[in-house]
Amino acid sequence: MAPPKKATKTAAKPRSTVKLPRSADARTPSMALVPVPKTDAPEGLDDPRRSDVDEWGRSEHMRALARRVYGPLYRNWHRVEWEGLEKIPTDGGALLVSNHAGAIPADAPAIMHGIEEELGRPVYGLADEMFKRMPVVGTVWSRVGGVLAHPDNAYRLLAEQKQLALVFPEGTKGTGKTYGERYQLRRFGRGGFVQIAMRAGVPIVPIAVVGAEEAMPILWKSAPLAKLLGLPYFPITANMIAFAGLGPLGAALTLPAKIKIRVLDPVSFDVEPDQLRYSRSLIMDESEHIRQRIQEALFDMLRDRESVWFG
């Protein structure tokens, strides 16, 4: 398999990359490794590991490589701008909850990259098992911090390892929206994310993202093709047309929409953690409340936006 080989290659590199052209903003050490807390360290036993792939499948070297590749896109293509970054806890577990859009959503990498660069904390992206079924994509997804959104995984990440986890409660209902439905939040799943945060005893940090909708707008969806390929949707995007000259790569390249991210005030729950079940109505209330706040923030941000491309 390719990924770990890459990982070992880059393992020796970090020191030699100092001569890389640094961006104007000196705060973006693209190749610096995010300190991942070592968990489950076997006590005094010989553990001859060869790669740095952690229990979640995340490899910090692969992540560093991804940050180096994605960095220019983040800074110069989408010119990502944060607001309220200080509201993200610098230690302890927290569940980041955001809106989700674009055929290949640009919001997930932007949030993960931004937090890792600015706060030096790893972010684990929780997602549907769809990725895990795909060859190559699934492995890369896992190496750069993707984890299956399973309650047990979330609990271990948040409560036991005190990490940051990012979740998109809209799921593919959000990314499968067509251009005409942009910025209208879909149902927030069944509120599972609230239950997970309650059980783990961590706050939820709502995040509103503007720009991802326009980065890869869906013009039309083909139901038969989606069925054939086993995908939740098969989109015809504006990007396929705009970058038709680039071939298949064009379909993956986002449009240079300005991405603005606003972090809202964290929500803590006044309930006992580690319960098997929580009141359904409480979960739905909180879920609806968080959804509303993100929706309001989106409208607020859109009101102030003058241009899709320049913000």
Binding site: M1, P3, P4, K5, D40, P42, L45, D46, D47, P48, R49, R50, S51, V53, E55, W56, G57, E129, K132, R133, M134, P135, V136, V137, G138, T139, V147, L148, H150, P151, D152, N153, R156
Partner: protein, 345 residues
Amino acid sequence: MGKRVLITGLGTFWGSRVAQALEADPEVEVIVGLDRNEPTVPLERTEYVRSDESYSILNRIVKAARIDTIVHTFLVVDSTQMSSRTIHEINVIGTMNLFAAASAAGSTVRNVVVKSSTLVYGAHPKDPVWFSEESRRAAPPRAMVERSLLEVESYVRDFAVDNPHVAVAMLRFSNVLGPDITTPLAKALELPLVPSVFGFDPRFQFVHEADVVRAILFVLAGEIQGIFNVAGDGLLPWSEVAAICGKRTFPLPPIGMGMLSAPLGRLGLELPAELLDLLRHGRGVDNRRLKRRGFDYRYTSAGTVADFVEALRIRGMVGDAGTAYQYERDVEQFFRHSPAVLDPD
């Protein structure tokens, strides 16, 4: 009065090793071993009974020898070794008979240890990274051996519920590797190129054969009850496992393996359904419950692979060191029961 132990599957790797270890324990008074095949390791005082696991024989042995402890290691987890028919007979029917005998009226059985496998969790994209003992599998079993082990576990659970006075422990062992044992994964890792599935690099967990025997003895000694995962610390990608073995992987196509498995089997590469699932999705189990009871592992997952590789290297250089032990019925009977043999004490 010491323990009177019945070991099923004395001819298997685990049965014989547990018997060897129990022989050294003065607390254990009697060891009766049951199998269709002769034991493959020398045993000092274990009584070997050649038998299949039919109910009437089991019932008579349990009663006659006043068995109080049963170690059920006769469960097939390697589906490449025999037909599904035989696996069903051994696993499901054998277990059913054993527990029927153990729960017969007047039974003296007080302690049961069953060697199950983490195969019962399956391997599926919807799996959590770590299965706890309470986790349910994500999808119904596809592989026959997984189905049979699930049935075995349901018999064990029924027995535990019906006989609350018996301490029942069920150990679910992860992928076992070690210097001596042969498993489908060990065979795959011995090939010049290690098979993998293209585009997948799942994380694997291993448990060392020595830790398996130690875990069985630990549970026996403490009369611990409950279900426990037994697996080394840490998960490592399959590519890393191959790297520790000093090998490269040979990616198999991610689709159409059903058609390919027959010709590959002829080439000596047997990849049953449960192994193909594992090579795609991997499996991790939470081993903390047994640790909380005081068990300590000697090997991590990576340490297990390293130890396996070392043994492999030595075997490659000097060949199979130990001359194979041959069970000779008359000789064994002579040493155990002839008045001519004097007790060293």
